[in-house]
């Protein structure tokens, strides 16, 4: 019964955050002289209007699902993984390197890519985990540092070892055998970017959910997250769980990197921190750190990102309005206290009665006008 209340509350909070995010987007459209309704119409249409666009929405959502799971998983252990972007880069680098180095049949190569990116991300993230466990270095700061270290590592490694034929700033294209895109899926969605990554994502949503709810590992991780001291006093190895949790979070983000760089895209750009790493924080917050909530939130953000180009083509609204909406959602998710604080009042609102009263008021106003 308690959990039901909790879920309902989380749902309302996410709902209000989205509402306020959309409102901020609308204000931005309006002050720049655009019609927000038109803007939203094309924004959502652009993500949904045909099977190809739906495919693109799912393809865009795929790395977001992984990034969101990564943040949510670490959060369950009380850790704030801001390093998703760097872990994605490292996962993507591992995937790209494997794809460009080995000439193997697709199933074998993809298996290697999945495990390679997973291990790469896990190792990259376990360093902040170790620093936290061993030296109590705050993971927020260390993962930020790790992001920029990853950024510069990619910046120098890609041109040096995997330079593309035309530009200094990107890697070679990976061969078809190393891509998560498969012809039947691309054709099914009319040439969309969708790829096997979405199935991987769903598999990992299920796995995460099982780990957290059903296993002793999940029990330990959450115990450490809720109360590190009590967990330690009860004989749980806190340090091991911290490192493990960061490693799992990194593995998820690393996989997300693979689905982005060798699934959605076909090469790596240098000089960019993937925005999904930060969007993942929004995804996790909006999804209330539950795996299926993350899935839903990521699909919603995927929709915004896919639709923004179409909106930009059909109206004069710059595409960054979608990013503004997402950023505002994070802001209001952070300030969810507003809703927490007034939760009791919100609960008491009887929406039916409110509607009736609204009617009455308008009736009154109407009759007042007649007098």
């Amino acid at each position: 019964m308690k959990t039901k209340v909790r879920v309902k509350k989380d749902f309302y909070m996410s709902f209000f955050a989205i509402l306020l995010g959309l409102l901020a987007g609308a204000v931005l459209m309006a002050v720049t002289g655009n019609n927000p309704f038109e803007g939203f119409f094309y924004l959502f249409r652009g993500g949904l209007m045909n099977i190809e666009r739906i495919g693109n929405t799912l393809a865009t959502a795929t790395p977001l699902i992984f990034a969101g799971l990564s943040v949510a998983f670490a959060f369950k252990t009380g850790l704030f993984n801001i390093g998703g972007a760097g872990q994605m880069l490292i996962g993507g680098l591992c995937a790209t390197a494997i794809g460009l180095t080995f000439d193997l049949p697709k199933p074998i190569l993809l298996t290697m890519i999945v495990f390679g990116s997973l291990i790469g991300g896990a190792l990259w993230a376990s360093l902040p985990g170790l620093l936290k466990a061993r030296f109590n270095v705050h993971e927020v700061v260390s993962t930020i540092m790790m992001n920029w270290i990853a950024y510069w590592v990619i910046y120098y490694i890609v041109p040096q070892y995997f330079k593309g034929p035309f530009l200094e700033t990107e890697s070679q294209r990976i061969p078809e055998a190393a891509s998560l895109k498969v012809p039947w899926l691309t054709e099914l969605f009319n040439g969309s970017y969708i790829n096997l990554g979405i199935f991987l994502a769903i598999i990992f949503v299920v796995i995460s959910s099982l780990i957290l709810e059903r296993t002793t590992l999940g029990y330990e991780l959450k115990a450490v997250g809720y109360n590190r001291d009590a967990a330690e006093a009860a004989g749980i190895n806190v340090n091991r769980n911290i490192v493990l949790s960061m490693a799992i979070a990194g593995a998820l983000a690393g996989l997300g990197g693979a689905t982005f760089y060798v699934g959605f895209a076909s090469n790596m750009q240098i000089g960019v921190l993937p925005s999904q790493g930060f969007d993942g924080i929004a995804v996790a917050l909006l999804g209330a750190n539950s795996p299926w909530g993350v899935f839903a939130a990521a699909v919603f953000f995927g929709l915004l990102h896919t639709g923004k180009g179409f909106m930009n083509a059909m109206t004069a609204i710059p595409p960054e309005v979608a990013d503004t909406i997402i950023a505002t959602i994070i802001y209001f998710a952070a300030t969810s206290v507003l809703i927490e604080r007034n939760w009791d009042k919100i609960k008491k609102i009887n929406f039916a009665a409110l509607l009736n009263r609204g009617k009455k008021d308008s009736l009154k106003a109407g009759s007042g006008g007649e007098q």
Binding site: V153, A327, T335, V337
Partner: protein, 315 residues
């Protein structure tokens, strides 16, 4: 080698100054107990406002446009920081998440506005700040050539701000109260200090500093707004930590980072430096910050109450 240092020095200083100012901004915020991961976004806002103001006014006032731009960057940085203050102080929000939101809002809104106002995502200025050689002082041996030759006026402005900030934090009652809020807000409150007000002021100061820092970067080094602060804000954050939340520590850290970044940037064109792989120079600030965190883990000077929302009711 000596010539090389003379050559690099002005660039290193020019790179250090925006970092130093932004980091000082972070110092105010964090010493009052509010984590400021949003420095990057606040800088970006300053970059955009500065570049846009200058591009609009420089035709009419070629002499003063740069200064108007710097001033408006500071003002808008301060206003934008209110958003962070509101979330962290009034709404008891998670300060880390709010900071991330600040970064994301800044990068989305500035590019949106840049596209809307100029058609492209970039805003260019025609004339930045010019370098000046200070007469007399530049004749001092060694130091004169290092510090007083080819220097920007903003460098002196920022060094003055550094001195003023140190005075403000350690000698005045404003500083005493601000630091008390970052260490033990309940003590400050029961002594009659308005914790909320102090934290608001600190975060607003950090916004003004970071905004000005971003604009200084535009008028001295880059000459255009291109939609990203390229991690400068995070570098400033690293310097704040590496400098152990102390003004002079921050000066040393930012100079250290500024010099390393400058060497990395020019290493391609200067043969003596080309031997040092850029990857080491560029990752250097972040790696040393991690190492500093490990070394200081036993005796960190971080403000005690940093990151804790202050709630009167919970005592």
């Amino acid at each position: 080698m000596v010539d090389l240092i003379y050559q690099l020095f002005p660039y290193a200083i020019a790179f250090t100054i925006p970092l130093l100012l932004t980091s000082l901004g972070g110092l105010f915020s964090e010493r009052s107990g509010v984590i400021n991961i949003g420095l990057e976004g606040l800088m970006l806002m300053g970059m955009f406002v500065g570049a846009f103001t200058i591009s609009q006014t420089e035709a009419a006032n070629p002499g003063t446009a740069v200064w108007i731009g710097l001033l408006s960057a500071a003002v808008f940085g301060a206003i934008f920081a209110l958003l962070h203050a509101f979330a962290c102080v009034t709404l008891n929000a998670n300060q880390v998440i709010s900071g991330i939101a600040i970064n994301m809002i800044a990068s989305a809104v500035t590019v949106y506005l840049a596209r809307f106002l100029t058609g492209s995502g970039n805003v260019q200025i025609i004339r930045g700040l010019s370098r000046q050689t200070i007469p007399l002082l530049s004749d001092i041996p060694v130091l004169g050539r290092l510090f007083f030759t080819q220097s920007y006026a903003t460098t002196w402005l920022v060094l003055f701000i550094l001195a003023a900030a140190t005075f403000l934090l350690y000698k005045t009652k404003f500083g005493l109260r601000l630091r008390a809020c970052g260490e033990h807000p309940h003590a400050a409150d029961s002594a009659g200090v308005n914790v909320y007000l102090m934290r608001y002021m600190a975060v607003i100061i950090s916004g003004a500093c970071a905004g000005l820092g971003g604009a200084i970067f535009i008028v001295t080094l880059s000459g255009e707004f291109n939609g990203t602060a390229a991690g400068l804000g995070f570098l400033a954050l690293a310097a704040l930590i590496f400098g152990q939340w102390k003004p002079w520590g921050i000066l040393a850290a930012t100079f250290f980072f500024g010099f390393a970044s400058t060497i990395a940037n020019v290493s391609q064109v200067i043969p003596t430096l080309a031997q040092i792989p850029g990857i080491y120079l560029k990752t250097f600030p972040y790696v040393v910050t991690l190492i500093a965190l490990v070394l200081s883990s036993k005796s960190s000077q971080a403000p005690k109450a940093i990151g804790e929302p202050y709630d009167k009711g919970k005592r």
